[in-house]
Amino acid sequence: MYSPQKLHPIAYLGSVVNGIKNLWIPLLIVLFQSREAIFSGNISMKYILIAGGVLILAIVLFGGMDFLNKYRTRFWIEDGKFIYKDGVITNREKELDVRRIQSIDFSEPIFHRLFGAVKLDITTPGDGIKIDTIKKSQAISLQDILYDEKSYIRDEVEAGASSEWPRVTEDEHGTQETASEVLYHMDGKSLLLMSMTSGALGTFLALVFGFINLIGANFLIERYFDYFEDAVASIALAIGLAVGLFIVVGYAIGILIMAMKYYKYSLEMKHDDLIVEYGLLEKKHQSVNINRVQNIIVKDSIIRRMIGYYSLSVTITSDSLDSEDIDGTVDLLPFIKRDRLYEIVQHIFPNYHVEAPTGKVPGRGYRRYFQVMTAILLIVTAVVQYFWFDYAWIIGLVLILVFVASGIYSARNSGYAIHGNEINLMTVGFFKRSHYVIKQEKLIEAEWVYNPFLRRDDLGIITLVTAAGILGSRATLKFIDQQDIDIIWNWAERSTSHAEDFSEGD
């Protein structure tokens, strides 16, 4: 790793595939335009040769640059820096300070796995590097070395290390020299439960409709319904059956997809890094540096809350546009019993006090959680009812009831709790709760919004922003009492404990 390394040879195949991928839309148009010539049956040899030649030329043109670029790509570690070099005409060289690396991820899509290759994704608070297709052995040794370097460098005196922005709680864990420790391993039962309670049907529907849209086969759906209408006498029963079957099958397939995605989920801790591994077909491997964690989020949905399962994610900051997840959220534990989750959080982040806050929204704020949505629904329903569909009011009523219930659920659960320099915020979306735990020094901005109506009722909306990805992670508490806003605002204002420190220096 200390000498320049090359990419996996299969990367070249990847660039050919990329070339074709870039070309497939023009290719489709050309094929469509010349469909008569092709289907007429008498294609001359000349035509095939010319067409093939043009195709190969295009692939070489589009893929060739990529090909050369991959040939010239080198990466290595030197002097506590990770260096990546590529470029055909213009040479690019990227250097990442190993100390600032906050996560090293690699994923193995099925195509890559056949050849023992992986995709590597390294992020720092600023830029990141993404390397497609390197050897798995390379990736693993790279990861090990980077971890070693990091723990080694951390012991040294950092001269002029002014660049470490989230520099708090730096030495809390540094001394733990345990090699690695498995914190959580998901068993089959949890995997199944998780797949069942997640939007499994939604996943399937998105996939199916995405696919149908892609190939433009709307007639498939019509045929599907036609088939049932032929088989069963009553039309209502036929449609009911068709929809029912579709939902059951979709749900089952959705569960299967989810189960495959999160197959063999495990969370490990190595020095200061948390490592997540999962996947059956496409293996994912993510790592997060504990000290780079900006905030902790505990999420649940109403169904999962009923059976007592929660999920844990953290956010890290990165300006890299290459990275797949720009929102900077890393899921650590997607599905785990509540008590176990708190135990693990306590173990990983001993300096955080995680406690679910109770509802803080006053009675007069409740209606505001659903009034806008209800008004919109009323108007839409009225219009649809009047012009198109006589039973629209039934659907409208059900939707309104659902949204009112969701609003009340949100209002009942939204709240906050402050423990010293730490705030626990519970924000609620559509029957989904997110519990943010934010340290004061990680806070980037506090934002307080009100309008005349809210003012009159002594209510307000407050948002706390922490760094995450490019956009930041925003936790918003809506329609809480002015007093509570003042408390949170003052807590946020008090921020920098160094404030007095430097005023006396002047």
């Binding site: 608070p125 290390a161 901005e445 934002e447 995450a468 920098t496 404030a499």
Partner: protein, 157 residues
């Protein structure tokens, strides 16, 4: 709490005025097109453009700049920056200074003519913009913030 330069109102008015003039020009062009050149060109396009022009002229040129100026306030204290803004929907922002990563100033041709400067503070996620300050004041604020940040950083090392 500090206010921005009162010249800002004028600059905003001119800036919006230019936009309005462009729309008016388009409206006239569309009208000419319908009347004299191309009969099939729908006449209501010029009407819509004219309505847009009236809207910009009344709201953005006449009403908003004064109100925007009246309700925009900011304060640079020793450890944070606060911004209050919003005419109907009020927003209050507070950004701890030690999270600020870079400070940019921006000057447009109009702003330069009136000796104004805008300051943008960037944190790792948000950016906070203080528009139309007096040039020297903007530089002063930038230097102050830079100094505060530097001191702050040095202290905590």
């Amino acid at each position: 709490m500090q206010k921005i330069s009162p010249k800002a109102i004028k600059v905003w008015r001119i800036r919006e005025g230019i936009g309005a003039a462009v729309v008016l020009l388009l409206a006239v062009a569309a009208l000419v097109l319908t009347l004299f050149v191309w009969e099939a060109f729908p006449w209501w396009i010029s009407l819509i453009l004219f309505i847009i022009f009236v809207y910009i002229a009344v709201v953005h040129v006449w009403l908003l700049p004064g109100l925007k100026y009246k309700y925009f306030r900011f304060q640079v204290s020793t450890d944070e920056i606060r911004i209050h803004k919003g005419i109907l929907i009020k927003e209050k922002h507070a950004v701890p200074l030690f999270r600020v990563q870079n400070i940019d100033t921006s000057v447009g041709p109009l702003m330069k003519r009136y000796g104004l400067k805008g300051v943008t503070l960037k944190t790792s996620a948000e950016s906070i913009h203080i528009p139309e300050l007096e040039s020297d004041e903007a530089d002063m604020i930038r230097n102050d913030i830079r100094k505060l940040i530097n001191e702050n950083t040095r202290r905590t090392q």
